[in-house]
């Protein structure tokens, strides 16, 4: 599936945003649900992420790699993770756009999921990805503003994501045979 996420305008120059986005220590702090974020090699990290939402609930172990750095404009992010509910992998190009009043982050890429997630949670995934990205961008903003990031627990984050997907979820419940109809 395609994943397209856009941040609000962060009131900080591109170079500063770039610095946070590419700083492993900051990422470990700011990425939602991250329990472990260890450097394996340059631009190659081992991660453990915990998600607390319905069909995708679980602990995921995986790798994140950064590539094609073109400071401060764009870089590529690749990742894969595996957990009891299934697996996910994807890649995205992270674009940092200089806009009026600061910087906008536009991520666009592809993701694939498998296992139980594919059957039950595939249509939640976009909502989950959007929610995680938005939470992350907000944390980046707070970090740059010198504020403490809002502590996010897996369960707490789960509720936030759930709110984001609940509307589409109910739409699906009411519209029986959605999958068949999409054909």
């Amino acid at each position: 599936m395609k994943v397209e996420v856009e941040s609000a305008v962060l009131p900080h120059p591109r170079e500063e945003v770039w610095r946070v986005l590419l700083d492993p220590e900051a990422l470990a702090r700011l990425l939602p649900g991250v329990e472990r974020f260890e450097t394996v090699a340059e631009d190659d990290y081992a991660v453990v992420v915990k998600l607390g939402v319905g069909a995708v609930r679980g602990t995921y172990t995986g790798r994140v790699r950064l590539a094609d750095r073109q400071p401060p404009e764009r870089y590529r992010l690749e990742g894969e993770a595996k957990g009891a509910p299934g697996w996910a992998k994807g890649e995205a190009v992270m674009n940092l756009l200089a806009v009026d009043g600061g910087t906008r982050i536009v991520a666009s890429g592809q993701a694939r999921v498998g296992g139980a997630i594919a059957g039950v949670g595939q249509r939640m995934m976009e909502g989950v990805a959007q929610s995680m990205a938005r939470a992350f961008f907000a944390s980046v903003d707070r970090e740059l503003a010198g504020r403490q990031p809002e502590p996010v627990t897996a369960a707490g984050f789960g509720w936030r994501v759930l709110l984001d997907v609940v509307r589409s979820f109910f739409a699906r419940l009411l519209g029986r045979g959605d999958a068949a109809r999409r054909r």
Binding site: A84, P85, G86, W87, R112, V113, G114, G115, A116, A118, G119, V120, Q122, R172, L173, R176, G177, D178, A179, A180, R181, R182, R183
Partner: protein, 799 residues
């Protein structure tokens, strides 16, 4: 006949309606452990390694078994239908995949634990290291020369091919007044019995006996397969089939889980239980249907079909030990169904992909052939302007032409298609409908009338198959009380065939039906038999019961004659009483004869017959041709039931949603033993047909991940979607079975596919609406209405 033909409620009703049925999941044994299965999360991959250490460390886990152990300790799965016998290809598969996986959901490891929840939680901790390989999830793409190979040892992705031809198709097409071409397609869907697959195995090493309770359709063949796979003596295995909560073909062996559960019980020396979750059944419980039929049809201006060239491309999923792939063969075999086409060619490509293997599903590929021909006759009607009912009548095989050899060599036994269709027209009252349609139209509502024609051959008999044979056995035992025990090799998947079997036995012996008990589904009790599929329980099982019961009756007649001191030919049997012909006062009752046989075997009346009142008889179908070299034809089906159907729908053009208002069928399955049970079969079939045509779909993404793994996404029709169903029986006696019966188990499921397309099109007489691809989802119907061109003035819609 006192009972045959009567509407007798099923003898199982009381227990089942009271919730007192015993299903496999209800079987609970002391010290029973529970199994959870680890399934592939990739459609195509090599298994590098399996790490079970985390799962094994969970308290309560008894064992984690992987493919490596299975390959060491067991044998490959036994093909339930030998592909080589049909010129098809196969691969070696095992109770657990060990080197590669070919579809999401394939079993790769199993966890046994003290309780079900622990087993499932530990199963999530089994780490399988996969090397992902390219997957192919579309049959036409799988035929490309550079497509990923599902079985690398094969030269291409074709599992089976077939070619049937009669006449000179190319010349006939060249000379035809009208030639049409296109594609008719059916999507992937499946049976979804409410009871999922379930198995309980108990191995007693002191007695060296394995007892295997299974939600299966075929206890004896399953025992053969378990014995081969586990390398155990067949007689040391007892398979018991408790109540089955729906099967529809999808529970025919051999699944990975069957030998797996048996193996785990033997390994642990404890009873183990596996109950599939809905998600597991939808992923790995067998799929069906997905076929595209490319066609060219030639016809005359008066609607006579002169030539038909078809190519069936079936996506049978990954190769497995299941019988499902044969459904593709049946589609090709049945074309052109109930019609006479002088020049006809059918080619088949049954193609493997990285999706769930096909398993048998009610209809068994025949439904696709009838659906296809329904679409063809309506396209011919559209192109010629001849009424669609008239096109059917002009092309039907006529009643006097039976037995009729169809293009593929199959032999249609009997029938009267024109009479059934004419009866249907009277029932539906077309002129009255047209008035109703016009009145509705004035209110802005769209009504349509559609027609369909089913041909559902039953009683499948294939050569060299341990499972699909045209024979079955029964034991009839008259006990000292005069009450009767009937043991059959056929089984009931919940259809109530034991009631029909009791009716047959009661009529042959002249006893009250309450005195008959039918025992099925236990390999230690019942005579060897092949179980349930292809509507064979009454057709074959019932015939065997009739033979055995008749044999006992004849023996009793001889005893009665000796007692009455007259010749056996002078004794007639009326309601279980043995009477002297012409002197009815000279008689002896059923129970008196029984008492003589049991208590006076050396006495004058009994001494010349063999003691005992028990008979085991086997029945073999007629009209079967298995020696094409000698007989010049190949036919696997003794009987060819059929049905003409019509339905009325209301379509909302703004949303594409439609509702079925009325559904009528005129059905012919020969002599009907129990009309109530037969109608129950047809009602269920129609509901499944409507579900398949409009609501149910198994949807994969481009990487072979199944997206429809719960009943929230795989939507079954409910009572709301199913209209009242009217059924009229037409009895064209089978010339080949002893009681004139055919088979009714698959009737009903085919009709909705074509009839719904036909009815929706009829709701828009001004449009050249063409529905040839299922499912009829609101989106597709809406789009078809939007994209349809105005219809040419010539073609009316009188029928």
């Amino acid at each position: 006949m006192k009972y045959i033909g009567q509407r007798i409620p099923s003898v199982t009703n009381r227990a089942l309606v009271a919730g007192r049925g015993t299903y496999t999941a209800d079987v609970s044994l002391p010290h029973m452990a529970h199994v959870a299965v680890v399934r592939s999360t990739l459609a195509s991959a090599r298994i590098r390694s399996v790490d079970a250490s985390a799962a094994e460390a969970v308290p309560g886990v008894l064992a984690v078994v992987t493919g490596a152990e299975i390959v060491r300790e067991t044998r490959p799965l036994a093909d339930s239908l030998d592909p080589a016998a049909a010129g098809a290809r196969s691969v070696e598969t095992w109770a657990l995949a060990h080197d590669r996986v070919r579809y999401v959901g394939e079993a790769v490891a199993a966890v046994v634990a003290e309780d079900r929840i622990t087993a499932h939680q530990a199963a999530r901790l089994v780490e399988v290291d996969y090397e992902e390989l390219p997957a192919v999830v579309d049959a036409e793409q799988a035929l490309a020369p550079d497509a990923p190979r599902v079985a690398p040892e094969w030269p291409d992705n074709r599992l089976a091919q077939a070619h049937f031809e009669r006449g000179d198709v190319e010349t006939a097409l060249r000379e035809a007044e009208i030639v049409l071409e296109g594609v008719v397609s059916q999507h992937r869907y499946t049976a979804a019995p409410l009871e999922p697959r379930a198995y309980v195995a108990d191995y007693d090493r002191f007695r060296d006996q394995l007892v295997f309770w299974a939600s299966t359709q075929n206890p004896h063949p399953l025992r053969v397969f378990l014995a081969r796979i586990l390398d155990m003596p067949e007689v040391r295995i007892r398979v018991i089939q408790p109540h089955v909560g729906g099967a529809f073909g999808i529970k025919i062996p051999t699944f990975q889980e069957e030998p797996l559960v048996a193996y785990l019980a033997r390994k642990l020396g404890r009873p183990v239980k596996y109950v599939s979750e809905r998600r597991e059944d939808l992923l790995a419980g067998g799929h069906a249907r997905e076929e595209r039929i490319h066609y060219r049809v030639g016809c005359s201006r008066d609607g006579r079909i002169t030539a038909l060239d078809t190519r069936v491309v079936a996506d049978v999923g990954a190769p497995a030990a299941l019988t499902g792939w044969a459904m593709a063969y049946l589609t090709a075999t049945c074309i052109p169904t109930v019609y006479k086409v002088p020049h006809c060619r059918t080619r088949l490509d049954a193609v493997v992909t990285h999706k769930c293997p096909w398993n048998a599903y009610r209809g068994f590929g025949k439904e696709a052939a009838s659906f296809f021909m329904d679409r063809i006759v309506e396209k011919v009607a559209r192109a010629t302007g001849v009424d669609r009912v008239e096109v059917r009548l002009r092309n039907f095989i006529q009643p006097e032409e039976f037995p009729y050899e169809q293009v593929s060599g199959v032999v249609l036994d009997s029938g009267d298609y024109p009479r059934a269709l004419r009866t249907l027209l009277e029932r539906i009252d077309v002129p009255a409908f047209r008035e109703m349609q016009a009145a509705a139209r004035r209110e802005g509502r769209r009504l349509g009338l559609g027609f369909g024609q089913e041909l559902t051959p039953e009683g499948c008999a294939l050569p060299r198959s341990i499972l699909l044979g045209g024979w079955d056995g029964a034991t009839v035992r008259v006990n000292p009380s005069g009450q009767v025990t009937v043991l059959t090799g056929v089984t009931s998947p919940g259809t109530g065939n034991e009631t029909g079997i009791a009716q047959i036995a009661a009529d042959a012996l002249g006893v009250p039906i309450e005195d008959v008990k039918v025992v099925q589904g236990d390999t230690d009790l019942c005579p060897y038999g092949l179980g349930n599929y292809s509507s064979r329980s009454i057709l074959l099982g019932g015939s065997a019961v009739h033979l055995a019961a008749t044999e006992i009756r004849e023996k009793m007649r001889r005893v009665a004659a000796r007692k009455l001191e007259i010749a056996p030919d002078d004794v007639e049997v009326v309601d279980g009483v043995f009477l002297a012909v012409g002197a009815p006062s000279l008689s002896i009752g059923f129970r008196e004869v029984v008492a003589l046989v049991y208590t006076d075997c050396h006495g004058v009346a009994v001494c010349e017959v063999e003691p005992g009142l028990e008979s085991t008889r086997y029945y073999r179908s007629q009209n079967i041709y298995h020696q094409p070299e000698r007989e010049g034809r190949f036919n696997a089906y003794p009987s060819w039931p059929n049905q003409a159907v019509a339905c009325i729908v209301e379509v909302d053009p703004e949303t594409g949603v439609f509702r079925v208002l009325r559904y009528v069928g005129v059905h012919d399955s020969g002599v009907v033993v129990n009309p109530l049970a037969a109608e129950a079969q047809i009602h269920g079939g129609v509901a499944q047909g409507i579900g398949g045509a409009a609501y149910e779909a198994l949807v994969y993404d481009e990487y072979g991940q199944l997206l429809t793994t719960s009943f929230m996404d795989y939507t079954l029709p409910t009572a709301v979607e199913i209209p009242p169903i009217e059924v009229e029986h037409q009895e064209t006696r089978s010339p080949f079975s002893p009681l004139g019966t055919k088979g009714v188990g698959e009737s009903g499921i085919t009709g909705p596919l074509g009839a719904l397309c036909s009815a929706i099109e009829d709701a828009f007489p001004e449009l050249d609406l063409d529905l040839s691809a299922l499912p009829l989802t609101p989106m597709r119907v809406w789009r078809a209405i939007r994209e349809a061109r105005p219809r040419a003035a010539a073609s009316g819609a009188a029928g």
